[in-house]
């Protein structure tokens, strides 16, 4: 019986370790997705002159999960959830944070970016997009580095922690 419990415990810690490592691996991936989405947004604004809602629709069609879900929600809830775009943006960002592996910094960047969206002329708008993109680039580097440093360690740490505690308790 004790052995079964011990095995279950080790399995759990291993899983936690893998999950952690997974998050570390996914963060740069998701940041990259957001950056791509911003690029599409820029193109839609500058060249197609689309209004935001239509731009969001194009973006959600071209992007993979989870960023797809973010723009899909924006597209569907503009004018519907609230007439204030800021509220819709913030709520969508909250839901997005739950399903993606983005960190606090990225959230802050996107929050700031949302406040500028649709309030400026082309040139200013482009600058804001580029600013957000360069902030994200910086975060991307940090996330990559973190993954290199802790990614493998997280996996083995999970298993080892489990074994360690089991040994202590036995």
């Amino acid at each position: 019986m004790i052995w079964v419990g011990a095995m279950l415990f080790i399995a759990t810690t291993t899983w936690i370790g893998f999950e952690w490592s997974n998050r570390l691996a996914n963060r740069p991936k998701h940041i990259r997705q957001v950056k791509n989405a911003l690029q599409i947004l820029e193109a839609e604004m500058m060249y197609s002159h689309l209004p935001l809602q239509d731009a969001f629709y194009t973006i959600q069609k071209q992007t993979p999960f989870p960023i797809h879900a973010f723009f899909d929600r924006l597209y569907k809830n503009m004018n519907y959830e609230s007439k204030d775009f800021q509220v819709v943006w913030e709520n969508s960002l909250e839901t997005f944070m739950d399903i993606s592996c983005l960190g606090k910094n990225e959230k802050e960047i996107l929050l700031q970016f949302g406040q500028t969206l649709g309030k400026h002329d082309f040139l200013q708008q482009q600058k804001h997009i580029q600013l957000a993109a360069s902030h994200l680039e910086r975060e991307l580097e940090a996330a990559n580095e973190q993954y290199q440093r802790y990614g493998k360690m997280a996996k083995s740490l999970g298993v080892l922690c489990g074994v360690f505690i089991v040994l202590l308790l036995l």
């Binding site: 209004p51 649709g118 309030k119």
Partner: protein, 309 residues
């Protein structure tokens, strides 16, 4: 009036709707000024809603609604200083202007808004039409001072010609709408009823627009608003030689005064207009017109229809 009240933030929306309950019909303008009470202008009076003082946030909200949350798309509108919204209503903008090489680039901080309610007066030209038709439509010049109903009349003439009346069948009509007043188009879609057989060249300079229209759309009747410049007159003569009937309006108080204006003088001297319609505003909401023939003989005098008194 949903297309207007939807612009406002909830707080203002409720109050304005309350203040207007059954006066939408007589409302002409809603004026908003930052940190000043909202002003409502009616046909006969105006009033301030002293409890309603829009702040910066309200303005941001309204402008977001006006631009579909996409201010970057309004470059043109911010340069012109006005925009047309659904229903043909006009929103005038003022504030701090950005210039580039001495010409206006855009209004940067919008702090004054003027929402002008558009009301198409169907039937304003009903009584006029028989005088403009004699074996085909006749070249007509509509003369009037500002605010005497020139555009209203010309819009209704357009509608009637292109949808036909009594035994007269509809004609192809081309409208050159330089100031987007006749059709009030949004992205090329007219917001007013101009009849079935009307083509509109929106925001196009009159002189070029007339030639473009003749080349491309083969109209039977051309409608032009507010001619005046030398180029306009030249293009107008060109159009007349192309065999198109032209109905246009011009600023002026009387026919005598028109004769003294260099651009228009040439037109009058050539005797190309068969009908002149002189507009007068007797009192608010009482518009009258007098019709003259090519020899400036008085043919008829009537009140414009379609206005509630």
């Amino acid at each position: 009036m949903i297309e207007i009240s939807r612009l406002f933030p909830e707080r203002l929306q409720k109050e304005i709707e309350c203040a207007l309950t059954n006066r939408w019909e007589t409302l002409q303008e809603i004026r908003l000024r930052l940190q000043q009470p909202i002003e409502l202008i009616f046909n006969h009076s105006y009033e301030h809603l002293s409890s309603l003082v829009p702040d910066k946030r309200d303005f941001v909200h309204i402008i977001q609604q006006l631009s579909d949350y996409s201010l970057y798309r309004m470059e043109e509108e911010l340069r012109e200083g006005y925009m047309t919204i659904e229903g043909g209503h006009r929103v005038g903008l003022a504030g701090r202007v950005n210039t580039l090489n001495g010409s206006v680039k855009a209004i940067q901080y919008i702090t004054f808004l003027n929402i002008r309610i558009a009301k198409q007066k169907l039937g304003a030209a009903n009584k006029l039409m028989p005088h403009l038709y004699h074996n085909g439509y006749m070249n007509t010049l509509i003369v009037g001072a500002p605010q005497t109903g020139k555009t209203t009349l010309i819009r209704d003439i357009t509608r009637i010609i292109s949808s036909g009346w009594k035994h007269i069948s509809p004609c192809k009509v081309g409208v050159i709408d330089e100031r987007s007043e006749i059709a009030a188009s949004i992205k090329g879609i007219p917001q007013h009823n101009l009849g079935l057989r009307t083509d509109v060249m929106d925001a196009c300079p009159k002189a070029e627009g007339m030639m473009m229209m003749i080349r491309s759309m083969s109209p039977e009747v051309l409608i032009v608003d507010e001619i005046g410049g030398k180029k306009d007159v030249e293009a107008l003569l060109e159009a007349l030689h192309a065999g198109v009937v032209v109905i246009c309006s011009v600023h002026g108080y009387s026919l005598e005064e028109l004769k003294r204006r260099p651009g228009v003088q040439a037109l009058l001297e050539k005797g190309i207009f068969n009908r002149f319609v002189l507009l007068h505003q007797k009192s608010p909401l009482q518009y009258t017109y007098t019709i003259f023939d090519s020899n400036h003989r008085n043919l008829s005098y009537a009140k414009m229809e379609g206005y509630a008194t």
